[in-house]
Subunit: 173 residues, 2 copies
């Protein structure tokens, strides 16, 4: 079995944010997928259990998803992807707005966003799989190109953080 | 709420196949996502309940996933994506091999494949969300570029079949 075949799956890049009481966090994920189109669209997102954002999503049952564009750079990605919201105010120095669900939505270099409710949580080992129902969604700049995970690796030369579902422990990337 | 924001999510293109007894089918999906990296990798795939492949996956609890490359054309995609395995032998005229789990794996214009067991099924309206554990996986041609859903729409000019989780009923695409 060659686990490296999994690197050939295609993904986008997203900043997900959540808030519980006064606690806020956001992190980078590549696992957002639409799973049904009828009525209110449903999506899934997998988030590492060690991520502070994961615990806030579990508490609030709410999550906002910002679709990163190719305009985002390593500085922006690093701000959300490589440090914890436990110790850092991730909104500092970042453009954002407050969603209808009262949770900040990152708006810097973002194509569009979705506000979602969590309707189911499936334990999947290192990660929780959150099943979401979309409650709102708007474009911020429809002309921007969504960043793919492939673009992030090949053009921005981004590394895979150890908490990603696609992280390869043996290769360290 | 603007549901069109969902068109900005990024996906790959995959042929999934399954077999129950002598019944075989395969179909095109764009919803394959890795959700955990440790031990045996776990993935999810959403498949429309009206798809014949869906019922075979439910019966056999086994599914093989072939990662489509940019070399695939509309003819190959149409063979699997726009007609039912109920009425057609989808293996006819296609290159394939038999997996370790005894289920045919499509190999034509494919980067790599994974053989998976179904470990959980979540009803999500029009689609079932299958949680998978990867049992085997090999490259067929590592040099090929995986086809993205964006490439399929913009270069191959592919339509969204009505059974896709990303289908927009109002727009008819």
């Amino acid at each position: 079995m060659d686990n490296k075949v999994l690197f050939k799956l295609s993904y986008g890049m997203y900043i997900v944010s959540s808030k519980s009481g006064e606690k806020f966090s956001a992190c980078i994920v590549n696992t957002v997928t639409q799973i049904t189109a009828e009525n209110k669209p449903k999506l899934i997102v997998a988030i590492n259990k060690d991520n502070y954002t994961n615990s806030l999503v579990k508490e609030s049952k709410k999550i906002n998803i910002s679709i990163l564009s190719n305009k985002a750079d390593m500085l922006e990605i690093g701000r959300f992807g490589f440090r914890s919201g436990r110790d850092n105010n991730k909104l500092e120095g970042t453009e954002y707005k407050i969603g209808k669900n009262n949770i900040p939505i990152i708006t810097e270099n973002i194509v569009a966003y979705m506000e979602c409710d969590v309707i189911d949580i499936i334990d999947s080992g290192t990660h929780d799989l959150f099943v979401l129902e979309m409650q709102d969604g708007e474009f911020l700049d429809e002309a921007l190109t969504p960043m793919t995970y492939e673009y992030y690796h090949s053009v921005i030369k981004g590394k895979t953080p150890p908490k990603a579902s696609t992280y390869n422990k043996e290769k360290g990337e």
